[in-house]
Point group: C2
Chain length 418, copies 2
């Protein structure tokens, strides 16, 4: 019961805070964000001390080197988190914007106004910087946030949350706007998933297992983020130099993220010209190549790809390669195995570029550019709270605007319905 | 297992249809809608025959008169359904609209384009007209729809769906775009709730029990519709003649719908002048009045309101009345008991009108107008598939636009990420 009590009490405080936060001026919110940034930098030592406890415990628990690296905070990383808050402060505030207003024949004036979502539950894994990013974005969009980070980062998250929450409060943000669930029991997540009376939205960020648990068990509305089985299709009419650069970038520039390419689809007409050099380059860059039969006829050293490869998000230096007979076959493959995240075509053909853009169903569809651009900063949103892979509410990179909803405001002078 | 098989197979067909529907031209969709309308009118006798079977069975089962009335189809009602389809055909098509397009410093051109949601599962109760409305709206917005109506209307729904689906198909709509689950077993709903690989969204329409079941058990994203515990607050500065008209309209014009008023809040300063005449008029109109203590000091014949009354959506000729000391008390009451549907203030005071609009959190907030206007037609959307009472995706009346999502389309000339 102690777990449930903590979650419920904090969520109730968040709900109370959200009511006032909803109409706080942009000036107050921005000053709070800047003050949170300053406090983070000033309290660097305390944060690093708490982080050391987590890192030591992680090493003792045998966490992988990659995980330890994600957990680790350095003076530079703390400065980056602070800089992130300053960036959010500089972004325009979506709240209060009236996107449209129209007059009805009976004289009613109807407007659609952006308002905060209310209370957002963030459920995430090891990176402590998510604590700061999420708190900053939620605050700027007028939302209260209930943070539930991974147990590996609990000491870091506790230190960070205490610092930014108290800086926010000193700047006029209502108490309870930023809170961390301190109990690391998994039961805390289960309580959050069903808290429909107090939470408006849940945003899970982390591995496929976490996302699945949330989607399968939550009764609170969820924005699903994450899985990206992304493709690049090199058309028969592609500029092959451009294709090579895009493929290498999409696979190698940062293979562990959701917008990295996992399968390369190549039109048969250019496969013999493109693949030998390109796959050699990828091999030199440390990429393991798994090819279909036709690929292996051209590049014999590639290992055979199985059905499972087409469906796998490697998040690693592994690439599946398939030679296709036509753009239709490429689109069918993407339809069948893709996760509707990011898909690209490389072509010089106008009609096929247009058709690919129209017919491929994904959060982001590219012509002649790397899939790696699906990202809030790259789109110019300034910051993102995650990349939505569902169709409801928001799709692709979610910035401040996606952390709001709207309400209709209606001005009358006594209208009644006939 | 037969139930699960029917739902799965139909959903899979819908998914296949949705892929082509997504980029069908507006012309084809509109011609299909008009042809569906014509077919309905032409097949009037067959529909009424099927409806008679349902009505007879309903009477034998002892359904209430109100339910039988909702179930009953007449030549006029069938003409209305056809007219609804013609209206939808005349609405602008949201699909393909690029709402915004911008250029990034690296030359990438990023646009946000409206696209269909995909496959929509509609779960609804007795009214057979929902079958036609939902099919028409989903089709126009480029979505396939899997319909699951109430068992009481199964024969009517079967006849209607067969007629409109075949008219649609003859007009070039892919087969499977409009389908009805014919098995009336409740298990069919349970299967739909978990069909994440085939359904993109569920929209439940009906009583509170149905909505709750769907929200509590679905893993597919849901748009919640429905419950409206709506208030009218009469301010100390109100035009009392206007207040009277709005209150009577909001309560009596159609008490059984979600945007009708359930509780009247009156500022103490005008209670003595307003309430005696107004509550007498309401009584004459057949309304049962339940008042707080202060109300009963003024109008002694009112029955005492309990805590439960403040929280109840009567959907009937019953009104709860509370005298408040201030607008703040009114807003606190709305915050505590409201369902974030439709809230109204009647006032001549500029500052309080502005504050009420800003601070009250609901899908629709009114100044000097009846809550009854929260409706797709009244807002000028032409038709609605329901009124959302959640904050994610859509809020308030949902028209064609709310049956779509968006995707980012990105035009490059070889950009890679640095």
């Amino acid at each position: 019961m102690a777990v449930e009590q903590e979650v419920r009490e904090k969520a109730a405080r968040a709900r109370k805070a959200a009511r006032r936060l909803a109409y706080l001026s942009t000036g107050v919110k921005d000053r709070a964000l800047l003050s949170m940034a300053d406090s983070l930098v000033k309290s660097r030592d305390a944060i690093m001390e708490a982080n050391e406890v987590d890192v030591r415990a992680g090493r003792e628990k045998g966490l992988s080197r990659a995980l330890i690296d994600r957990l680790l905070l350095t003076p530079e990383r703390i400065e980056d988190m602070a800089e992130g808050l300053r960036t959010v402060a500089a972004l325009p505030d979506p709240v209060g914007e009236v996107e449209a207003m129209w007059l009805r024949p009976n004289g009613l004036q109807v407007g659609r106004m952006r308002v905060p979502l209310g209370v957002i539950g963030m459920i995430y894994e090891a990176r402590p910087n998510v604590t700061v990013d999420a708190a900053g974005l939620c605050l700027k969009a007028g939302n209260a946030v209930l943070l539930r980070g991974g147990s590996e980062a609990i000491n870091s998250n506790r230190a960070i949350t205490a610092i930014i929450a108290s800086a926010a409060e000193r700047s006029g943000i209502p108490a309870g706007a930023i809170q961390l669930i301190e109990n690391t029991d998994r039961e805390a997540v289960n309580v959050m998933l069903k808290l429909n009376d107090l939470l408006d939205v849940l945003i899970p960020r982390g591995g496929a297992g976490l996302i699945r648990t949330v989607v399968q068990n939550a009764t609170v509305p969820v924005i699903e983020t994450g899985v990206g089985n992304c493709h690049v299709y090199v058309d028969e009419d592609a500029d092959l130099k451009m294709a090579r650069d895009i493929v290498i970038n999409a696979k190698c520039q940062r293979p562990g993220v959701c917008n990295a390419m996992e399968t390369l689809l190549v039109h048969r007409a250019v496969a013999r010209e493109l693949l030998p050099g390109l796959l050699d380059d990828l091999k030199d860059a440390g990429v393991e190549v798994r090819g279909c039969e036709k690929t292996r006829e051209i590049v014999s050293w590639a290992t055979p790809a199985t059905e499972e490869d087409w469906a796998t998000e490697y998040l690693d230096l592994i690439l599946a390669v398939k030679v296709v007979e036509s753009m239709e076959e490429a689109m069918d493959h993407i339809y069948r195995y893709g996760t509707r995240h990011s898909e690209a075509i490389v072509t010089r053909d106008y009609a096929r570029a247009r058709r690919f853009l129209q017919e491929v169903d994904a959060a982001a569809v590219y012509v002649n550019a790397s899939t790696r651009f699906t990202d809030g900063y790259q789109y110019g949103f300034g910051a993102e709270i995650g990349i939505s892979t569902q169709k409801l509410h928001a799709r692709g990179p979610m910035g401040l605007r996606e952390l709001t909803t709207y309400k209709y405001i209606v001005f009358g002078d006594g209208q009644i319905r006939g």
